[in-house]
């Protein structure tokens, strides 16, 4: 689904909630993955200048989970370590979006190339 407008951030939250419910995540885990989705969707919109997210149900060794992949073709992140540091911000926010989202899920992958775009994949297992 697209992440191009502010309304899309709300839609991503709702779709993530539906997927998290469907795979049987607890209320706290649902809240964590939806919050992480909200942070990353806003990043895609504001820093990535718009992009898209795919929401998948995944299963591995009998465990179910929700996986979200955010992709954009924006300017990319020049320094990944710096971007993941708590409190570092280029957008005037609290600097907790990316680092906070990482803490809220079980798996976190960040690929970014300056000038080409960013892809963030997060997974929360049941």
């Amino acid at each position: 689904m697209p992440v191009r407008l502010e309304e899309d951030v709300v839609r991503v939250r709702q779709a993530t909630r539906v997927a998290a419910l469907a795979c049987g995540l607890s209320l706290v885990d649902q809240t964590k993955i939806v919050t992480a989705a909200s942070e990353l969707a806003r990043n895609t919109l504001v820093h990535g200048l718009g992009g898209a997210v795919t929401i998948d149900s995944v299963e591995a060794s009998g465990r179910k989970g929700v996986r979200l992949t955010f992709e954009d073709n924006g300017p990319g992140i020049p320094d990944l370590n710096l971007a993941l540091r708590d409190g570092y911000t280029t957008g005037g926010g609290l600097g907790l979006g990316l680092s906070g989202a990482k803490r809220l899920c079980n798996e976190f992958h960040l690929d970014s190339k300056a000038g080409e775009g960013t892809r963030v994949t997060i997974t929360r297992w049941k």
Partner: protein
């Protein structure tokens, strides 16, 4: 444009934030509260967030901003009704809402506001409010 109602109740302002709030709506709420605070000379703001099923860093920043602006306008902010799962997530996210008073429900939140506004009366300028 859609707006979150800011109700005047005696010396206080009452705000109930609805679910699925867009960022733009959160921004306009800050402006609405500060203008009402100065118009009605309110002593406190009570923000009910029981309808929110998540609080991300953007909403947390909005709450912190409202509390900071209110403090400068000589009013206290109390956030009430945070769902337990939201509280757990907020802390894990790395947010602890410094400078924001919280209460479990509207009733306790009102008590807190009344107590803090009567404590401020007759004491002149509340100098400790500027020490944050």
């Amino acid at each position: 444009m859609e707006r979150i109602p800011v109700l005047k109740m005696g010396d206080f302002l009452l705000v109930t934030v609805q679910a699925d709030m867009q960022d733009r709506l959160a921004m306009s709420l800050q402006d609405d509260i500060t203008s009402r605070l100065s118009k009605y000379k309110s002593r406190g703001v009570l923000i009910d967030i029981s309808a929110l099923d998540i609080v991300d860093s953007f909403i947390a920043r909005m709450i912190a901003n409202i509390a900071a602006m209110s403090r400068i306008l000589d009013a206290q902010t109390v956030v009430v009704g945070m769902q337990p799962a939201v509280a757990i997530t907020l802390v894990e996210l790395g947010l602890n809402l410094p400078g924001v008073l919280t209460a479990l429900n509207v009733e306790r939140g009102m008590e807190l506001l009344r107590a803090s506004s009567s404590a401020g009366e007759g004491a002149g300028v509340n100098s400790d409010r500027f020490e944050d």
